[in-house]
């Protein structure tokens, strides 16, 4: 998957946890999940679990703590997909 394809998939994963659909539609790699999309930190766990299911990967806590913006999420998902 290309980074753009992962980003497009991520929009679907993140969508249930943000009410800011306009910002979600314009989401880029620099978008911060908490500051920009106003996602509650408790929902970051949900996003990680949904991403694990969606891509059939396992994200441990050392990886999870880097997933603060969209670009870093794509980095982790790309790495995990490459390891499969």
């Amino acid at each position: 998957m290309t980074r753009q394809e992962i980003l497009n998939e991520l929009k679907k994963v993140i969508s249930p946890y943000t009410t800011n659909k306009e910002l979600l539609a314009g989401m880029t790699e620099n978008t911060d999940l908490i500051r920009d999309l106003k996602i509650n930190s408790a929902n970051l766990v949900d996003i990680i679990i949904d991403a694990e299911s969606n891509y059939n990967i396992e994200i441990d806590y050392d990886d999870a703590d880097k997933m603060m913006n969209v670009g870093s999420c794509i980095d982790i998902i790309s790495q995990k997909l490459a390891q499969k």
């Binding site: 009410t19 800011n20 500051r35 106003k38 509650n40 930190s41 408790a42 766990v45 949900d46 990680i48 679990i49 694990e52 806590y61 050392d62 999870a64 703590d65 880097k66 603060m68």
Partner: protein, 260 residues
């Protein structure tokens, strides 16, 4: 350490089934914390235990982030070392609602140990942390609002905090700005106030926490006399005990003497 950290979790927002899966709770709890649950299983549902510990960990993260902005939130690395059902049980009254279970504990991250006070109420878990076990200078409160819109919650929690600061000081016009590290800071006009705050919202609940401990260094930095006056003014106001996790002991003079 002078800082502030709080967090709330609204039960309405918890996915109970998901929380009870290892895939979820192992991302929040360490193995010793999972084992620790056995001691509380008669009092606390597992899903509430998981989010109770989350709220303590998030509070500790917010407290330390203000001081060390490079810290990232990895829940498993913030370890709850002790957790106790508090002896204060029954002595508190949270805005007319029944407080079901006050808890105290401590949480460790790297070299830092912080103390926590939490309660589990009918619809809410609420936690605050401080570096001082007495929590003498920590003010916090929670409130239910009508909106789940995050922008409205964000505005409401600021109004809630400003109302309390105005009640305590008579001052209005205090504002909050986010600093370069995205941490909320109080301002009076153009002057930054040396009062650390922490804000939280979840579901239909909002909460604030602030710390009035003013160290000698900060007093010197921010004009000692002026701030000592404000400090005495704040502490001479008899706090009405709205929050369950505050125990204000000693007179304003005693408090001032403690932080000369």
């Amino acid at each position: 350490m002078l800082s502030a950290g709080n967090d709330i979790v609204a039960f309405s927002e918890i996915d109970v089934a998901r929380t009870n899966t290892p895939q979820c709770y192992t991302k929040i709890l360490s193995e010793p914390e999972i084992a620790l649950y056995e001691r509380f299983s008669a009092n606390i549902l597992f899903e509430h235990y998981v989010w109770l510990l989350w709220s303590i960990k998030e509070s500790a993260y917010k407290f330390l982030k203000r001081i060390h902005s490079e810290i990232v939130f990895t829940p498993v690395k913030f370890e709850i070392k002790h957790l106790r059902i508090s002896a204060e049980y029954g002595s508190v009254n949270f805005t007319g609602k029944e407080v079901t279970l006050p808890l105290t504990g401590n949480v460790q991250f790297d070299i830092y140990t912080l103390y926590s006070k939490s309660f589990i109420e009918r619809e809410l878990i609420s936690s605050v942390v401080d570096s001082d076990e007495r929590f003498d200078d920590v003010y916090s409160n929670n409130k239910k609002i009508n909106s789940v819109n995050t922008d409205i919650q964000s505005a409401e929690v600021r109004i809630f905090l400003f109302e309390e600061l105005k009640r305590l000081t008579g001052k209005s016009g205090i504002t909050i700005k986010k600093n370069a590290k995205n941490i909320p800071v109080l301002f009076n006009g153009q002057e930054e106030l040396p009062i650390p705050i922490s804000l939280s919202h979840h579901g239909r609940y909002i909460a604030y926490c602030f710390n009035l401990k003013i160290s000698k260094n900060i007093l010197e930095k921010y004009c000692a006399i002026k701030w000592l006056q404000l400090y005495l003014q704040l502490n001479s106001c008899k706090y009405n005990g709205k929050t369950p996790n505050i125990d204000h002991k000693g007179s304003a003079q005693q408090k001032a003497a403690r932080y000369p």
